[in-house]
């Protein structure tokens, strides 16, 4: 095992609970003081097919996985066949003795344990987890505690199964406890859900689509406690329009989708633009075009997020690189979209959405609240031309006032107009808001600087490539620059982050280098691009090799 580093792979057939087993490992490492990242790899099927989760614990913040595993937990032969080469020299395979042949390591007699405990086959993952805990020298009490929290049903039986496997296994190598405060571990989707709640979400609308369905599931489970409602309308068109209806009524809403659903939403995004209605969209990218790889990742929708919707109007686009950032910008997206009455798009991807990350609960941006509505503004003008371009919001019913929002070009009362002067004035009003929004964004640390700050070569990345870049940057002495906000683009913050840079290498998981093209608009000309477009994120080793090739 490397110092302050541990990697675990758990694999098995779909339906065997690989995702939840991975989450238990992630929570366990988290409790030992590690910062954790989990990557889940699964095909778009419910039963059959190979699933695996890689969990990495580190002394620093890991947001990418490594290729060498200290523990390989195999519930089937395929796991060993596919991942044996990932085993570190001093690593160990913990395997289901009934399923896996011709291997050495720690055998777990899962079939016998389940039979003796009269437990169903799905509890095989508890057995392998028990054996892992023992192999990693994790005390039973801690393990039991984590398992209790993670398993919703039949806790006693799962614990009994796990205990048998725990007792039967032997310690391989103790995973040292790190003397650091324990951070909670969440998926990006959960972190986004938390951020939306903190951003005063009242209604969440979504049509199921990977990788954001779990935001809906997470929020649905919290409806009572959080006093929110979750709706699953007939299509993404209905989803986004219901959210706009809520905005008109003065209630905060958010929606979540992926590329295909975002396609259907674009007409309404444009409506939000002209009608100046707040709208919060979580766009989780997956491999495209079209249905693509439904359960794999890509950063292929940067331009789509920036431009989706006809006509021109300001919008907020923020691309978080991990769960902590996703939570922070979910809150900010809610607040800013309300304050500026613009669509806000949280541009994530499968790695951020479904991956798990340790997060610092106290790391949150300062709230950006809307200015209180001018109750005295009477007669009310929904689109009053103000210095900031922001018109005070009021919501029906207001006695004696008429509140109109309109998809057409409109006058200050919201009545349709074709007048050239008004058309120009309303367009300028919208862009005035963007300038002020950009000013606020500049105050919100919209550009991260990571890696080796003193370097004059920049690895430029966005979204989920953040941490792989950070590690490659540290290792190779390169600065990493990650703009979190892409619209309105924080030109000042970006210029500061790029100060002294004479060479730019962009790193993205797409085919054409979208960020690379995008920053040319602002006068930056990348010298190299490192691209990956096989649906998988960069591993630490892979990016290191690619970076070395690029700089040599």
């Amino acid at each position: 095992m490397m110092e302050s580093e541990v990697s675990v792979l758990v694999g098995g057939p779909a339906g065997a609970g690989i995702s939840s087993a991975g989450q238990v490992v992630a929570q366990l490492l988290g409790r030992l003081g590690y910062r954790v990242h989990m990557y889940l790899d699964y095909p778009s099927r419910i039963k059959g097919g190979h699933n695996f989760a890689v969990i990495r614990g580190s002394g620093g913040q890991p947001g990418a996985i490594r290729e060498k595993m200290d523990f390989l937990l195999a519930l089937n032969q395929e796991t060993v066949g596919l991942h044996r080469h990932n085993l570190a020299a001093d690593g160990v395979i913990v395997y289901d003795a009934g399923e896996v042949k011709n291997t050495s390591g720690i055998a777990v007699a899962i079939r016998e344990i389940l039979a003796e405990e009269d437990a169903p086959a799905v509890m095989g993952n508890s057995a392998i987890l028990g054996a892992f805990a023992r192999a990693a020298g994790i005390g039973w009490n801690l393990f039991e505690d984590v398992l209790r929290l993670s398993i919703p049903k039949a806790v006693a039986l799962n614990l009994a199964v796990a205990r048998r496997a725990y007792d039967a296994a032997e310690e391989h190598e103790r995973v040292p406890v790190l003397d650091r405060p324990v951070f909670p571990v969440f998926s990006g989707n959960e972190a986004i859900g938390i951020g939306l709640i903190e951003g005063e979400l009242a209604n969440y609308f979504s049509y199921p689509m990977s990788p954001t369905s779990n935001i809906m599931h997470f929020l649905a489970g919290l409806q009572e406690e959080a006093k929110i409602r979750v709706f699953q309308p007939e299509s993404e068109i209905a989803v986004v329009l219901m959210a706009l209806g809520c905005a008109y009524s003065g209630t905060r809403a958010a929606v979540g989708t992926s590329g295909g659903g975002y396609c259907l939403m674009t007409e309404a995004i444009s409506l939000a633009g002209v009608a100046e209605l707040p709208l919060m969209i979580v766009l989780g990218q997956r491999t495209g075009p079209s249905t693509g790889l439904a359960t794999y990742t890509a950063q292929g929708d940067l331009y789509f997020a920036l431009n989706g919707g006809h006509g021109e109007f300001p919008r907020l686009v923020a691309a978080p690189g991990d769960a902590e950032e996703a939570r922070a910008w979910a809150v900010a997206g809610m607040d800013l979209s309300w304050k500026f009455q613009v669509p806000a798009i949280l541009l994530a991807d499968k790695v951020v959405c479904e991956g798990m990350f340790s997060l610092d609960p106290d790391k949150i941006l300062k709230r950006r609240q809307e200015t209180p509505s001018a109750e005295s503004n009477s007669p009310y003008h929904r689109y009053a031309l103000t210095g900031s371009g922001i018109s005070p919001l009021r919501f029906p019913p207001v006695k004696g006032e008429v509140i109109r929002v309109n998809s057409h070009v409109h006058d200050t009362d919201g009545i349709t107009t074709e007048d050239p002067e008004l058309t120009r004035a309303m367009a300028e009003k919208r862009w005035k808001k963007e300038r002020i929004l950009e000013g606020e964004i500049e105050e919100m640390d919209p550009v991260n600087i990571l890696g080796a700050r003193e370097s004059s070569t920049a690895l430029l990345c966005w979204g989920s490539s953040k941490w792989a870049c950070h590690e490659a940057g540290e290792k190779n002495g390169l600065r990493v620059v990650q703009p979190v906000v892409l619209s309105p683009f924080p030109e000042k913050g970006f210029a500061r982050a790029m100060d002294g840079i004479d060479r730019i290498i962009t790193v993205e998981t797409n085919e054409t280098g979208q960020l690379s093209r995008f920053i040319r608009e602002f006068g930056y000309h990348p010298d190299d691009t490192i691209l990956k477009y096989d649906g998988r994120p960069f591993t630490v080793e892979e990016l290191d090799t690619r970076v070395k090739e690029a700089v040599s």
């Binding site: 909670p184 068109i237 409506l271 019913p397 349709t416």
Partner: protein, 284 residues
């Protein structure tokens, strides 16, 4: 409040003789009566589609959301589930509601959303100058079908009845008194209220004589009888020669969507922070 107060100052651009004038008058009168009966006009919101019908937004002086072509119903749903005290009326077109956004009509009825949908069924695309719609008769000669359309119309009343609507009627733009009563009752009804309004389009599809010679008033005895409603709905299929019934066709009581998901009282900031802390602590 006077009727004139409910009209805006915007210049009305419908063709002289357009059936939309009659619908607008009936809507205004219905709103006045509702205002007197305790539904103040500031509690009413109209959501309009895109088409000649949609211009009602500009010509009325009430709260409104001028939306997208075909999409009145999901917008109305969002408005109403956020604030059930509002009474939301969709002003839709036949192209708008039966072609572009048909799915929302079916789902609005399926959920028994507590909103009202008025379809200005002139059986033609008015604003885009005269193409056939889902309720245009077979062989309709429009600008895109000079030799006559190759599709038979569907029957919107039958469709919404089988989809779960709980208040269904048919009005006629030249029968304003009856239409006013229908609209008022539709707004008062708890559940999905749907009125197909046979609306005269003087320019592209003037059916005045045909309607005048075929209409009669439905009896109002067995309004809760689904089978009777089916028979009424099927009497005229929008295609073949038959008497055309007007008035309320069906009314029944059923739990509304909004009753099934009441608006919770929002958390206070402190409570929200405490909840987030709890969620965080459960993970460490």
């Amino acid at each position: 409040m006077k009727g004139e107060d409910l009209y805006s100052h915007a210049q009305v651009t419908w063709c002289p003789g357009c059936g939309n004038f009659g619908v607008r008058y009936a809507l205004r009168e219905a709103l006045l009566e509702l205002d007197r009966d305790g539904i103040p006009v500031e509690n009413v919101v109209i959501v309009t589609g895109i088409g000649q019908h949609g211009k009602m937004f500009d010509f009325m002086n009430i709260n409104g959301f001028y939306g997208l072509h075909g999409r009145t119903i999901p917008i109305a749903a969002g408005i109403h589930i956020a604030n059930p005290d509002l009474r939301v009326i969709c002003i839709a077109g036949d192209g708008d509601c039966y072609a572009e956004g048909l799915e929302h009509l079916v789902f609005g009825a399926k959920r028994n959303l507590d909103i009202t949908v008025l379809v200005h069924d002139n059986r033609v695309y008015g604003l885009t100058t005269g193409q056939y719609t889902p309720t245009s008769p077979f062989r309709f000669r429009g600008r895109s079908t000079p030799d006559g359309s190759r599709e038979h119309p569907f029957n919107p009343l039958e469709l919404v009845l089988t989809s779960g609507a709980t208040f269904i009627g048919r009005g006629y733009s030249r029968r304003q008194e009856q239409l006013k009563d229908l609209i008022r009752e539709a707004v008062l009804h708890r559940g999905f209220s749907f009125i197909d309004i046979l609306q005269i389009c003087v320019t592209y599809n003037d059916m005045t004589e045909y309607y005048n010679s075929h209409i009669y008033d439905w009896d109002q005895d067995d309004l809760g009888d689904f089978e009777a409603a089916c028979r009424k709905a099927r009497e005229w299929d929008y295609d073949t020669e038959a008497p055309i019934g007007l008035g309320l066709m069906y009314r029944s009581g059923k739990e509304t969507f909004e009753e099934l998901c009441p608006v919770p009282e929002q958390l206070k900031p402190g409570e929200r922070a405490a909840l987030v802390r709890k969620i965080m602590d459960e993970r460490r």
